[in-house]
Symmetry: C3
Subunit: 160 residues, 3 copies
């Protein structure tokens, strides 16, 4: 019986650790991308993970890396830029997880700061040989297009 | 002795799970309300839970549901809108919890985004037959009115 | 063997509790400072903890307390002000922890709200006789100065 109790506890603790790790990945994106850390940002994704933003679909770590190294992204950092992501709502399903959150892209402009974009984000994460990674992140700007509220609805329900 | 250690561990793990669930509820509000999911939003509250905002007091799930379905709220979604809530500071007291956080309501306007409202939020949650639910959420805009800082102070102290 | 399993579980649960406590401290700053709670804000730091902001270095709880009680800070509260901090990326190293996050200072102005500052924050926390406290928090505005992205990069790597 004690062995059963231990096993149950081990499972519950592992689920809590998994959720903490998923949060860590989501919370790492903003600091990494605003630091211009292309390798660190790309490493959040699986080798062939997808990052699908309104105007751009990045397939694989190399394309994420290229975005962080791109001239437009570097210009944002040099001008002053904050990608504020989360807090995330997380649902675990064994070795997979769905997270959903808002993000705000805040940029420095004319001595002040403006919100350039408010975005809905749906994350699909998976546990693999190297731990948890992003299989797919889909982001849609909350400017009235129906896709953005749709992402939020699916995310809270844990549908990737 | 091992039985005592197991019991203590079970209690601690349950407290961590409770806190994670409280966070999940707080983190669900923004995505649900921006998705226009009236039933999902209402279900965060107890049947007779209260959502007390500056200009409106909603008593019970039906009134929360009606707010999400209201024409003004639908107009916000159609125009583009992000209710960014948290992160929350959480204190557990057995089957009750107090959470406190800021929220930002960001709306799409003239091709950009503006912060329409920055708000102080005090949440009182309870564990019932169906798990954790919101018994009361009180929100006051941070425009200088004394009630808003008062909510923040009470919240951090864990006073519902 | 069961004793080993119990010990391992106890260590893992303690790490989860430590991370929750670190999050609680980071999440407490905004509500406390916007409530004008000078003692509560100061108590987040170690007695001789450091809070290093662009224009001001506060050494010790007394200087943090003085900042919260200062006329400029009180004027922000009276006008309407939200220090939205986090969510934080947290790394534990035994009795020390490194957290990194963005913060937004949103102020009420002309009937609306504006983002006055978007900031990179690197936190170094330590467990002492009275539990977890802030040993040092360094904050740099994200206006293009190189120090701010540098803080973010170090923070995600867990370098205090």
């Amino acid at each position: 019986m004690d062995d059963d109790r231990l096993k149950r506890l081990e499972r519950r603790v592992r689920a809590l650790e998994d959720e903490a790790e998923v949060r860590r990945i989501v919370a790492a994106y903003g600091p990494l991308v605003d630091a211009g850390d292309a390798d660190g940002t790309a490493a959040l994704w699986e080798t062939d993970g997808v990052y699908d933003v309104d105007e751009l679909v990045m397939r694989g770590q190399d394309e994420v890396r290229a975005m962080v190294r791109s001239r437009p992204h570097r210009a944002f950092i040099e001008g002053g830029c904050a990608h504020v992501v989360g807090p995330a709502h997380v649902r675990l399903h064994g070795d997979e997880a769905v997270a959903v959150c808002h993000s705000l892209m805040v940029v420095h402009r004319d001595g002040g700061f403006v919100v350039r974009r408010a975005t809905a984000n749906l994350w699909h994460l998976r546990r693999g040989a190297d731990g948890w990674r992003v299989a797919a992140r889909t982001s849609r700007v909350l400017d009235g297009r129906q896709e953005a509220p749709d992402l939020l609805r699916r995310g809270v329900r844990g549908e990737a």
